[in-house]
């Protein structure tokens, strides 16, 4: 049974990775990141249930992750706004002044 959860998490994580790698919209990337964090959380909770049920470390960790993810999302969105102001758009592809 645990494997099923892990598999779900892994799939979700993979999808997140795919999103981060491919979305051209900055906000899209942020969303994909959220997916990845959720996958991690599923992992944590699963392990908590199946491996270390005597404590609740996993769940608590998951809570912290949620909080941190939210914080990152906030900062990320703020930066996205700056993007929009400076580039009049949020297309990552156009944003490579600095290279080489």
């Amino acid at each position: 049974m645990m494997m099923a959860y892990l598999a779900l998490a892994a799939i979700l994580f993979a999808i997140g990775i795919f999103g981060v790698l491919t979305r051209r919209n900055a906000i899209g990337i942020l969303m994909s990141l959220e997916l990845m964090f959720n996958a991690v959380n599923i992992n944590l909770v699963t392990f908590n249930k199946f491996i270390a049920p005597e404590g609740l470390t996993g769940q608590i960790f998951a809570i912290f992750v949620v909080v941190v993810a939210a914080a990152e999302a906030v900062v990320g969105l703020a930066i996205v706004l700056l993007l929009y102001r400076n580039w009049k758009g949020v297309d990552i592809d156009n944003i490579n002044i600095m290279k080489w």
Binding site: F50, L56, V68
Partner: protein, 179 residues
């Protein structure tokens, strides 16, 4: 080979029959997650993100983490997703754009994430997991509260600093300068 496939299919069916709720949730989650990363209209993506997050919340409940599920709904669905949608609104007029939202890396990205999936599932299958039979404590929300105030008080405090920093930072960045 063929019957081999058949048997595995059969096992899968057995599994679905055994725990339909999980399968439903997993199906919803994965599908909407896929929509999130593939749809062209970013707004729709946000909607599906909400759906996916709900699915995950359901999973939490299955895993006996009610409090976490609540947190999930509150923070993600309630806060983050809304924030996202706000941002989408602010950067609005491309929401309607009907052009590809994926860049030239799509192919290799599929390749990479598929590789990741394969590797991780494979290695999970071949590793030692010391699965315990004992159940989680009944209504663990209380437990979590206790732990947050005792064992995990330090990260609890630190994470608050994180939030503070993020807040200040976001304000500083988002604020329009009057020049």
């Amino acid at each position: 080979m063929m019957e081999n496939f058949g048997t595995s299919l059969g096992l899968f069916w057995e599994f679905i029959k055994a725990n339909p709720i999980f399968c439903l949730l997993a199906f919803i989650t994965i599908l909407s997650a896929l929509y999130v990363v593939t749809l062209r209209n970013i707004f729709h993506c946000a909607i599906f993100l909400v759906l996916a997050l709900f699915g995950v919340a359901g999973i939490y409940i299955l895993l006996g983490a009610e409090f976490l599920a609540a947190v999930q709904v509150l923070i993600y669905v309630g806060a983050v997703s809304i924030l996202m949608i706000f941002a989408i609104m602010l950067t609005a007029h491309l929401a309607s754009k009907r052009i590809s939202q994926n860049n030239e890396q799509t192919g290799i990205a599929i390749f990479a994430s598929a590789g990741f999936l394969m590797v991780s599932l494979g290695s999970f299958a071949y590793s030692i997991w010391r699965v315990q039979t004992t159940e989680l404590p009944e209504n663990n929300t209380l437990e979590i509260g206790k732990l947050l105030m005792t064992d995990f008080v330090l990260p609890f405090e630190v994470v608050s600093i994180v939030l503070l920093a993020a807040m200040i930072g976001a304000i500083v960045l988002a604020r329009r300068e009057k020049s």
